[in-house]
Every structure is written in C-alpha cells, then in structure tokens.
C-alpha cells in the first residue's frame, strides 16, 4: 500500500508530502494571490508545478466536488498559470511563427487552443491564445512549463525583433502579468452566477470569446468563456490587489471551491490534455490528436517553427496517436502498457487514467501505434501485471456543455 500512483506525472503528492505540508510551510514554493483565501477555506494544500495549490477543501471529497461542477458550479484558482501579453505591430506574425494557429484570421476577442512547437515539431507547451487586435494578444501557458516557455519566448522574441519584418514594421513586446489572479468559474450554473454580478449580457459571450466585463464593485475584468472541464464557464483574469475580493464574491452559493483533484478528473472526462502527462516535447500535435489546432491556411506553407515535422505527420501519418479508451475491471493509470490483444506486441502506454465519476467507467487516454488508433479497436492494458480488456473510445468521454448561443 502506498507506493502511490497518482494521476498525471505532475500531480503526485505523497503521504509524506501531505504530512509535511500539514505541519510546516514548504520552502521555495510559490503561492498565488489566493493562498490565504484557500487556507481560510480549509484547503488541503499540495505542491503542484512549483506552487502550493489546493488539492481539495475541507471534508468535501473529490467525487462530490466533481459532481458539483458537472451539476452546478465550481470555482478554481488557476493563478499559477502564466499570463502574458504580446503587443506590437508584428505580434500576429510573431505568434504565427511560434505556433501553427491561424491567428491572422482569428477574430478580435476570440481565443484558440494552440501549441508552442520546438524545431523538431515537439510540443513545448499547450496554450490558450486570445486575440484582442492584430497587435495585441493575451496568452496563457502552463505553470509547470514556466521556465521553459519564458526562456523560449525571450530567445525567439530577441531573434524576431532583430529580423527584417520587425525592423521594418516594428517590434513585439512581451509583458508577463506577474502576480495577477486567474480564476475559473465552471459548470452549468456558472453563467447565472456571474450574470448576477454584472450588467453585461453574458448571453452574447459565446464559447471561445472574451470580453472586458464590468463587475459589481467597480472593476472591469478580462473574462474568457471556456475552461478545462468541458462545462460552460469563464476564466477571469484579475489584477493582484483585487484577486481575493473577486474570488470571495464568486465563491457564494451555489458555487463551491474546487481543487486540483477534481480539476484533473473533469479535464480527463472532457478529453483534455495535461502537459507533462499527455503531452511532452517528443510529441507532435498530430501525434497528440491536436491536428485541429493547425490552421487550414497554414498547412501548405508550414511556415512556423516545427512545421517540417508537422507537415510530414499530416501527410504520412504520425508514428503514434493519442486515443481515448474505456478499460474493463481496474482503472489504468499513467504508464500502464497497452498491448495488441492476446499478444506481447506493445502498442503504447496510458498517459492519464481514472475511474470516471460521471460515467462510472474507467476512462484513460494514451498513445498507440498509428493504425491501431481507430475507435472501437480492442486492446489490452496491463494493470498490476494483469491484462485488462479495453476499447478505444472517442473523446470527450463526457459530452461538452459549452455555450454556443
């Protein structure tokens, strides 16, 4: 007991860690602006991506929190994520060099999931890019990739600003929103909750769009409709000094505070990736089943970093593909091996897996060799030295519930 295998390679609090955290503050870990708020609300804090983050609150179990978000509304602190503004006359071209997204055709105040690719087409990070204008973008990246992302941004920015286009039309500036708050209000009751706090008609704010929304109390905040649960919801960016006040305002009945535990089970049911578990620098967006983030108008020229590999994988098929599966018997977790049934032929590995609270089935995502990736394919997954049958299943596992107007 308790050689624990936790979901994800990043979220691995151990008993020892939990115990240590219960007694003494952990050195060298960062805190979001909501740290005191979490403690006051009885959070069990754990280390995550270099931050002390709430795993759960009080006596409310992960399953109860999970269902509450699916049925009502939950508030997540995602202030550990890195919020960055890119501004300048050549911002669109710069970000189109760093990502395969069609940003030039993206509308103002629209967001898209994207990926930062390395020279060989591997994913440095996944990110949400929001376009405010051709010269202004708001980018959110993962806390766990902060060091790598910022080093990458800085190096490429220097290179860009010394290049001909920037010299001719103007440079790009990068501003990291240090200390800013970011909260996610998620669930079918998220919209009615937020609507109670603003005169802004949220019905007009559809999934994937964002706006500056004036809230009761006087502040006008950047609100993006979307999230990491598959439910309708909002991600709200808040200046440092107002973060706690806004969180307190939002965390009222029926909204429940939700920690990292339920965040992970919700995102997995929604078929979304956790960087570090499901994506890494060796995986191309085609392998990661993220071909849809590659803009239609960018597939010919492939004029972005890593474009060569992406083009090859698009044309010839990738060596492996991310798939969803439902596993019989025991839940399969990160690292479980996937086999061709009745043989020792290794097809790949599970990268995330849980017993789904919504479905009551064991869901997982992982990578299999190309050609074995079709839905309905029967595979075997090894859990505790025993083969378990599994069936490849399309994702999301739980249908999304976005507001599309």
């Amino acid at each position: 007991m308790f050689s624990r295998r936790l979901i994800g390679s990043v979220l691995r609090p151990t008993y020892a860690q939990c115990r240590r955290m219960a007694t003494a503050p952990v050195g060298a870990l960062s805190r979001t602006g909501l740290y005191d708020f979490h403690i006051q609300n009885g959070a069990k804090m754990v280390e995550f991506a270099g931050y002390e983050m709430p795993l759960a609150y009080g006596d409310i179990g992960q399953v109860a929190s999970h269902h509450h978000v699916r049925n009502s509304a939950g508030l997540f602190d995602v202030g550990h994520m890195v919020q960055t503004n890119f501004r300048g006359p050549t911002a669109t071209a710069f970000l189109e060099w760093l990502t395969p997204s069609s940003l030039s055709t993206l509308g103002a105040y629209s967001s898209t999931l994207s990926v930062l690719l390395n020279e060989t087409g591997g994913i440095i990070d996944d990110t949400i890019i929001t376009k405010h204008s051709p010269g202004a973008y708001y980018v959110v990246t993962n806390a766990g990739r902060r060091t790598e992302d910022l080093a990458w941004f800085n190096a490429r920015l220097t290179e860009w600003n010394e290049g001909p286009l920037a010299k001719e039309k103007g440079p790009v500036e990068m501003e990291i929103l240090e200390g800013w708050g970011l909260v996610a209000l998620q669930g079918p009751k998220a919209a009615s909750t937020l609507q109670n706090l603003t005169s802004f008609d949220l019905r007009g704010l559809k999934f994937g769009r964002s706006a500056y929304v004036p809230l009761d109390g006087g502040s006008t905040l950047h609100v993006a409709r979307g999230g990491y649960t598959g439910e309708d919801g909002f991600e709200i960016s808040i200046p440092p000094q107002q973060t706690e006040e806004v969180a307190t305002m939002l965390a009222k009945d029926p909204v429940m505070l939700v920690g990292l535990g339920a965040r992970d089970s919700l995102r997995l049911e929604a078929g979304m990736c956790l960087y570090g578990s499901d994506l890494d620098e060796s995986i191309s967006p085609i392998e990661g089943a993220l071909a849809w983030v590659i803009g239609k108008d960018r597939r010919e020229k492939l004029d972005f970093i890593g474009g060569e590999t992406v083009g090859k994988h698009l044309k010839q098929g990738p060596p492996r593909r991310r798939v969803g599966m439902i596993v019989d018997g025991a839940p399969a977790r990160h690292g479980a091996k996937i086999f061709l049934p009745g043989t020792d032929e290794l097809l790949g590995e599970v990268t995330s897996g849980i017993p789904s609270p919504t479905l009551g089935k064991n869901i997982a995502m992982g990578y299999v060799k190309n050609g074995n990736h079709k839905k309905g394919t029967a595979v075997e997954v090894e859990v505790r030295d025993k083969r378990r049958t599994a069936t490849l299943t399309p994702m999301p596992f739980v249908p999304t519930n976005y507001w599309r107007g």
């Binding site: 936790l6 979901i7 008993y15 759960a56 992970d264 839940p331 849980i354 017993p355 505790r384």
Partner: protein, 192 residues
C-alpha cells in the same frame, strides 16, 4: 476499541476455560498473559489484526490511509486460497486520484476476502478497520506478528510491522472475570 475488547472476551470463553484447567506454573503463566488479538501496523499504513486462536490475520488500511486516499471507488482483492508472502502485492485500493497497492503484511493463505467491497468500496472510508477490511490471511508463521522478531521491527519482505501503534490485549484466563490490560495505546502520530 471497547467493542473490540468485548468481542474478544465473548469469543473466548471456551478457550479460556480449557486453558484454565492446565495445572503447571509455567503453562499458567503462559495463559495468564496470553495475547488474544494483536493489531499491528505496517509502514505502508495497513494493519493486520491477528487472532492467535485461529491464526488468522484480518488485513485492512488505516483510517489515516483512507483519509489521505479520499473516496475509495475501486478495490481489487486477492483470490481466496492464494498463497502469499509478506510483502507480496495482493491487490489495490483506488480513489479517483490515486491507486494504492496493497501488500500482504504477513505470509500465509488468503482465507477470505471482503466481497462487500466490490459493491460498496466506500466502506473503506466509512469503516476502515471494521466493515472495510480487505482480506483474511491464515498465517503460515504466526511469529511474524506475535514473535519477538515482529516486536523488533524485522523487515519481512517489503513490509515492516511497527511496534509503535500496536494494540495488544492481554487476557487473564485465571479469573472468571476477564481482566484486560492495554499496552501501547498511544499510536504513533500519522498512523491514525
């Protein structure tokens, strides 16, 4: 804890009477401070509640373990009749967030498994040490629990039975009234 003592007392009248009739001083001393139920904990937050009458150890996870794990939604139990060695992985207890392997705390044969957990894995949260027990192992070597080696914290396979947190109930069989002494009633912090 009181209920456990009562249960022990009630379960043993026949044994007590039989032993009481043994005459020699040496055996009298053996009976007078005879261990009834020894509950030991492993460093992996499992317990084994050993009954030296039947040689059966009831295996479960501690309250602390269930609390750290959260809502248990799946339990994999060993097969009845399986021979296990101390430290062998015999199953798993899983919440949504984590899977925790169960290691046999003692060597022997799996005598019974708690089938109720298949339908109600949450029993482990509600009642980890009574209704949420995992399996019963008939010990091949009872000294793994009751012997001096166990007291000394001998490493058995991967499992080390802890002296700290051991509940041991001593039963004075020379008296018609059960006389109970509790030793080590203060468990090590972290076990509970």
């Amino acid at each position: 804890m009181q209920s456990m003592l009562r249960r022990c007392a009630l379960a043993r009248p026949a044994a007590s009477l039989t032993r009481q009739s043994a005459p020699s001083l040496a055996s009298w001393r053996m009976q007078a401070i005879r261990t009834l139920v020894t509950k030991r904990y492993t460093e992996d937050h499992e317990f084994v509640e050993f009954d030296d009458e039947t040689n059966i150890g009831i295996v479960g996870i501690t309250h602390y373990a269930q609390n750290s794990l959260g809502d248990v939604v799946f339990v994999e139990l060993p097969t009845q009749g399986t021979e296990v060695g101390a430290g062998d992985q015999i199953g798993a207890v899983e919440s949504v967030k984590a899977a925790s392997d169960i290691f046999a705390p003692v060597s022997g044969t799996v005598d019974q498994v708690n089938e109720a957990l298949n339908d109600q894995p949450g029993l482990i949260n509600k009642s980890p040490d009574v209704k949420g027990w995992l399996c019963k192992i008939k010990l091949s070597d009872p000294t793994e629990v009751s012997g001096e080696a166990a007291d000394g914290g001998r490493v058995q396979g991967q499992v080390r039975l802890k002296r700290e947190g051991v509940h041991r109930y001593w039963f004075n069989t020379t008296s018609t009234t059960a006389f109970v002494l509790l030793l080590h009633t203060v468990p090590e912090q972290g076990i509970f």
